[in-house]
Structures are given as C-alpha cells and as structure tokens.
C-alpha cells in the first residue's frame, strides 16, 4: 500500500483542508504530525494529508491569524510545535463549514438527478 502520489488526493474542494485542520484544532491543540494522524484516523485512511500540503496550509493560517503556534514538549518528551485555534480561527471554522455544506449540497443535488 504505497502512498501513490495520486492526483485524487489533492482534489479536495478548495478550503476543505483548512476546514479539516481548524476542526481538528477546535477539539485540541496539536502539532502538525498529530493533526495529520487525527484526520487520517477519523477518516479511516481515506484522507491522507501530505506534508507538502499540511505545512503550507498551517503557515497560511498563521499568516491569517486563525491559529497560533507554540513550542511545547510532546507526549513522548520531544520538543514540538503545537498549534492552537484563535477566536478568528473559530469564526473561520464556522464560515468554512457553511461554505462546505453549501457546496456539498449543491453537488449532491446535481448527482441525485437521474
């Protein structure tokens, strides 16, 4: 089960990756590896976030002020960078959720018509 660099993996709806990260951080502050693991586990391995997408996305969210980053000691006693959701981030999560629902609903309506 080699992780083929399938194009399919990068074809999330735009903004979905940020939404997933924001949601993950709304549960708990985590480091980058933890975020990727969380998403992968909960989606039963359907969604594998590549590092090449994850870290740039985290940087974008840092620039926009949706998350904060702090160096802390991880569970296994190593130094890692933990990301926390900000108030702006929480608001953005709501925005992304509604946008995604809208998109998803629209797509489903198109697909449901026979």
């Amino acid at each position: 089960m080699e992780e083929a660099k399938m194009k399919g993996k990068n074809e999330l709806l735009p903004g979905t990756l940020e939404m997933l990260i924001l949601k993950t951080l709304s549960i708990e502050s985590m480091h980058g590896y933890g975020i990727a693991q969380h998403i992968q586990m909960l989606s039963a391995d359907v969604l594998t976030i590549e590092e090449g997408s994850l870290y740039p996305a985290l940087q974008r969210m840092l620039v926009k002020g949706w998350v904060l980053a702090e160096w802390k000691i991880s569970a296994n006693n190593r130094r890692a960078r933990f990301y926390t959701l900000t108030t702006a981030g929480k608001k953005q999560l709501g925005v992304e959720k509604s946008r995604f629902s809208q998109m998803f609903g629209a797509i489903m309506r198109v697909m449901k018509t026979t």
Binding site: E3, H31, G32, Y33, E50, E51, G52, Y55, P56, L58, Q59, R60, L62, V63, K64, G65, W71, S74, R78, R79, A80, R81
Partner: protein
C-alpha cells in the same frame, strides 16, 4: 491589517522561521519513522529513510511554507536586484564604463540645466516680471545695422518725456564704490541708478524708502540705498541705519533705505551678468553726453 503586520514581522525573523520549520519537520520525520518501524517492522535507519522519502522534497516544502509570508513582488524584485549586482561584479570593466558614462551624463546635464535655469527660466524677483523690458537701440553703422545696449544719459533724458507705451523708464550704470569709515575700506560693486529705478521695478526697501523722484529728486543727491547683505555684514544690521551717514568715494552719503534680503538685480546681456550690487546711488547724470556701460530697464 493583522496579516500584513505579521508578514512584516516575518521579514525580520526569517532565520528563526527557517530554523523552526526545520525542527518541526525533523520532529514530524521522527514520529513518522517511529510509526513505520512499529507498523512495517523496518529498522531504525530504513524507517527514517522511508519517512524522509514520504515527506517529500524539503526545499520545495520550505518554499511553499514561506510563500504565504513573503511579499511576492518585493521578494522577486530583491532577487532580481541581487542577480543584477552579481552580474555587474563579474564584469567590472563594463560596470565601470557604464557607471562612468551615467555619472558624466547626469552631472553634465544637471550643470547645464542649472545654469540655464538661472539665466533663462527662473522668474525675475520682481512683481509683474513680464511687464519689465530692457530697451536697446538698433542703428545703422558703417558695418551695417547693429544693436546697442548702452545709452547716453542725454538720450535717456530726452526719451523720458516722450514715453507712450511705457510707464517708467529707468537707467542704471555699474560703478565701483569704495566704502570707507566703517572698519576696513571696502571696494563695493554699486549701481548708479535713475531716481525712479526702484519704482520701475516695483520694489520697496525693507527699511526706509526708495529715492525721491520728480521735483524732490535733487534732495536725494547725497543719498544711498544699501543691499541687505551689506547692511548685515558691514553695517552690523543696525536697525537705526536709516538716516546715518556712510562715506562712499570720499563723499558722505545718507542711507535712506535697506533693500529686502531677496532683492537681486542681475540682468544678463551680451557682456554677461552684472555682479550683485551692494549700493545704489541716485544719479541724474546732469548734462552728461558720454556713453556709459549702462542700459535701461523699463516697465511697460
């Protein structure tokens, strides 16, 4: 805007950013290697190698992680500038020649235009400068028609009552005026002027008054008007200077006015510009038939 401020901060903390990202990725790599070792039973080294491979190109990652922070246009511009400097350093003779040519061209142009401005384009420091004209005469000589810029005082006196298109006709003549009796004797550049000189230019002295004209003109025969510069340097900027006496060319003269600091009279004619005059002496050139190095300046 918060994001712009944050990006500005990034600009100053670039190194720390790179280090942080490097540490972060190393941590991620270790965690991944650990997971792979547990799951697929790889050895430590194999796991690390596999993890590194899966994370992908670190340089590309760093580029993309930097991207949201940088001001793209500034960054590319800075890159271009650095590249250009490198190229220039590699070809020193060309760079030197190019720079020297530029410096020469810019310097020459600036010099020429500065002079041209002073002579041609700078507005005259008098009110209504476009109403002022200098009058010359065109006469037939043995060598053909010639233009004369100087006038005999008798001609000036003869013309004055016959003015139709001009309001005032003034005359001036550059002279040397030795000033004595106030410290060291000074050789001043001066102008003999007709009494209506300052009225023609519509200039009023800052202190005192202009020369008397008309019937009262003879009372001013022993007067003088000084420039602001002379007043400050040789007359100690004495506010009570008006009415005091100074000795010009051995003759006592009464100071009746001090000109404003920005006053300047330097008409440019074929002989070049006059030196800046420090003293103005009224002259009616009684019965003078000689031709002086003088020209007339007139207000239309």
């Amino acid at each position: 805007m918060g994001s712009v401020l944050r990006r500005l901060l990034f600009f100053f903390q670039r190194n720390r950013f790179d280090r942080d990202l490097e540490d972060e990725l190393r941590f991620h790599e270790e965690m991944k290697a650990h997971a792979l070792a547990d799951a697929d039973g790889m050895t430590g080294d194999e796991a690390r190698a596999a993890a590194r491979r899966r994370i992908g190109n670190p340089l590309r990652l760093r580029e993309q992680s930097r991207e949201p922070w940088i001001f793209a246009t500034v960054d590319t511009f800075a890159q271009d500038v650095r590249h250009a400097l490198r190229l220039m350093r590699r070809a020193p003779e060309f760079t030197f020649t190019a720079l020297a040519t530029l410096a020469l061209a810019i310097g020459l142009n600036t010099a020429i235009l500065s002079v041209a401005y002073g002579v041609l384009w700078r507005p005259l420091p008098y009110p209504d400068p476009d109403r002022l004209v200098i009058v010359s005469s065109a006469q037939q000589t043995e060598t053909g028609a010639r233009t004369f810029w100087t006038w005999a005082p008798v001609t000036y006196e003869a013309l004055r009552p016959r003015l139709t298109t001009l309001d005032h006709l003034a005359a001036y003549s550059p002279i040397d005026a030795p000033l004595t009796g106030r410290g060291e004797p000074l050789q001043l550049s001066a102008l003999d002027v007709s009494p209506n000189f300052f009225a023609t230019l519509s200039v009023n002295p800052a202190h005192g008054r202009a020369f008397l004209t008309g019937a009262a003109a003879p009372d001013d025969d022993r007067s003088a008007i000084v420039s602001d510069r002379l007043w400050r340097t040789s007359l100690e900027a004495d506010p009570a200077i008006v009415g005091q006496s100074i000795t010009i060319d051995g003759l006592p003269r009464t100071v009746v006015g001090v000109l404003p600091p920005d006053f300047s009279f330097r008409p440019v004619l074929r002989m070049g510009a006059l030196p800046e005059a420090d003293i103005f002496l009224p002259n009616r050139w009684p019965g003078d038939t000689g031709r002086y190095g003088s020209s007339s300046c007139w207000a239309a």
